[in-house]
Symmetry: C2
């Protein structure tokens, strides 16, 4: 049986991971909520909470909640408990960031690269960039909690690998997690960029809903889905591939995937840009299309409205299949606002039975940059603060003796209870 003092405090700390997780995930932010959610006795909750407070992992917020008697003290994870590293791997850029657990950007950098460099070299550049971010910020507060990577390709989440040929040439079935864990020795998570956008929109803006369908309409078209509060990924990480659903029409356009009549070939940014070029306009991508719409160019507006109806057509099928209560539309073309949304709504309300649509909300995502990057941060935090992740994290903390920075006077403020 280990003697008291440092080893004893460490045992108390690792024993408190369940309380830490409840606070860190927001599932319980007061002593009474901890009592209720943990199933432990009041004395044990106090003992474990005191261990977390003594270690500066948890703090009592200045905020209290009125209760009719003594006010309830709100608890929160110390924001200096640690940080996460995230990267959004695009087709031409690597966007890296060091973030606090909110997640909020502490520092960031953007590197140009080419897919042809291949995954090994790219992951090394990302690792180098991460190290530079850490050294530039003097290592940030506390410890590195984990790393998140976003990719514009289908990802088998469990295996942490890109699945199938995709625009990320050379990345198919490549181990991404292994090298990154080798570099930093922390948990690493990889996911598809639309899934990460979906996660972030949900957690930041729509977390009160049980489920949410997110449609990303930009250069390409994709969807992410939250079911019972969690991302739904499908058997191989390829769910939400609505851009390549085809439907018949006269003279169906050829898609980049090689099939005829795909939704993407009709309504994606690149397809609208193509049609605008055919009308003599200068447009290469979704951003150019939106610029023309914002200039009130009638042809651009007409094509965006038409794209809305095409997207609405496939949305109607999705609504029949998934029965979502909320649809959020984001991505570059979403900046077209009601020009896009009205077409989506028209087809969805026209095609679906009333049962599926009478309580369905279709809204635009709030404008914000780098959503996939923030989604990667959110993914890391969600995993690291989960019950299993918290146990692992506290074990890591006691074994490396790294605690959040804390002034001398605060050290060991609380003795062991009971």
């Amino acid at each position: 049986m280990p003697t008291r003092d440092s080893a004893g405090d460490n045992a108390a700390l690792t024993n408190a991971s369940d309380i830490f997780s409840l606070i860190a995930t927001g599932a319980a932010v007061s002593r009474s909520a901890l009592l209720e959610r943990s199933g432990l006795s009041r004395v044990t909750v106090t003992q474990r909470l005191n261990a977390l407070i003594a270690a500066d992992l948890v703090e009592e917020a200045a905020k209290t909640l009125p209760s009719g008697g003594r006010p309830t003290r709100v608890l929160a994870v110390n924001r200096r408990v640690g940080h996460v590293l995230v990267a959004n791997i695009g087709e031409a850029h690597l966007h890296l960031a060091l973030m606090s657990p909110e997640p909020a950007v502490i520092a960031q950098s953007t590197l140009r690269y080419e897919v042809a460099e291949g995954p090994a070299a790219t992951l090394d550049r990302i690792a180098d960039g991460f190290r530079r971010l850490l050294s530039d910020t003097d290592g940030g507060d506390g410890m590195l909690l984990g790393i998140g990577l976003s990719l514009p390709a289908p990802v088998d989440y469990k295996r942490g690998r890109v699945v199938g040929p995709s625009i990320m040439r050379g990345w198919d079935d490549v181990d991404i997690i292994g090298p990154m864990v080798g570099h930093f020795g922390v948990p690493v998570y990889v996911d598809n960029d639309v899934n990460l956008m979906t996660l972030y929109e949900y957690r930041r803006h729509f977390h009160l809903a049980d489920d949410m369908l997110f449609i990303k309409v930009g250069t390409g078209i994709g969807a992410g889905f939250i079911a019972d509060g969690k991302i739904f990924r499908g058997a191989h990480g390829a769910s939400g591939d609505i851009g390549h659903i085809q439907f018949d029409s006269d003279d169906p356009p050829l898609c980049r995937c090689g099939k005829l009549g795909c939704v993407e070939a009709r309504a994606a940014g690149w397809a609208i840009a193509r049609d605008l070029r055919a009308h003599g306009f200068k447009a290469d991508n979704a951003r150019d299309v939106i610029a023309l719409v914002e200039e009130q160019v009638p042809e651009a507006i007409m094509m965006l409205r038409k794209a809305g109806r095409v997207i609405g057509e496939v949305m109607a099928d999705v609504v029949s299949i998934l029965n979502p209560g909320l649809i959020v539309v984001g991505g570059t073309l979403a900046r077209g606002g009601d020009f896009l949304l009205s077409g989506i709504r028209e087809l969805v309300y026209q095609r679906c039975l009333p049962l599926a649509t009478r309580e369905l909300n279709i809204v635009l995502a709030p404008p914000q940059a780098d959503i996939a990057l923030f989604g990667a941060g959110q993914l890391v935090v969600d995993n690291v603060f989960s019950p299993a992740g918290a146990a692992n994290l506290l074990n890591r903390m006691v074994s490396t003796a790294v605690r959040p920075d804390r002034p001398e006077r605060a050290r060991r403020r609380m003795g062991r209870a009971g």
Copy 2:
């Protein structure tokens, strides 16, 4: 602090609900697995397990597993621990059954009724029928664990109510659970029949898969979906409504729902029967269609193949959206075998990208009657044996002092350990 003996045994029993749940759900069926899954110490596991064995809730199977040393003893819930009551409410029949927890039928009965009788009268008839089943079998072993009801309409599972106008006229937003709980005082679960079919097919035949899409092709067409081992129901219980997805064609047929061109209007049993009648054949429903197919009537075969392609068309969209690893086709028309399946496969493999289909299995459900009824039984058992359900169940058992029947000599075989 309660004194020992009866009260002490009861506390030991309710304290053992977590162990009971692990065994009952099959998550752990040996002492070492219980040790690993419960997180408790070996002595505590033994103490709680002994309490369950003493109460005849759990038994050591004759079966053992070789381990290289002393063989591992397999544990199982005593099948006399209790029973469940289930009802499949159809459009013209009520099919009731008393089942053991496997679930397996102990006794059953079928009653004719009319939807127009309304929910209150119908639920009373079901309650009467349930009481008759109980009295005919002398109450069955142990206690009544719970009740499950299957309905051919969208069901908001959390609220236990039919949602929206449906073929169950008069049932919209009616409280079904309340009256049934009032009658029997046990947990009651209500779900859509296709969801229950999906659950049963999954748990009985395909439980090793992470996800499964089930298509019921009969009089109507509907789908159920298992994601991460659980039924996915959508925001209002209306997911899987693929029968009313429309797609364009010349002269689209009118559906029963009032829209034009629905999948159901083209490929459901009633639609094929309509087309066969137009060709002079005598056919009213899916069963009649299959009878003609089994007689090798060319027109019936041609229409079934065509229905397969229509269903395949919509399945292709579903595959793009959900990325399932497995599709199971059931319902009356599934008895058409490859006449139906070949069309489904043709369109799915043709329409979807290789990533979505290269590891996709499309199979027929094994032929079995009353799948929705068994699904209702499975739903009850899954809930009652869950960690929370098991805690509730053991509390109910100690408060009513009802235990599985047990001979005198086996009583209190094990004293309290430690």
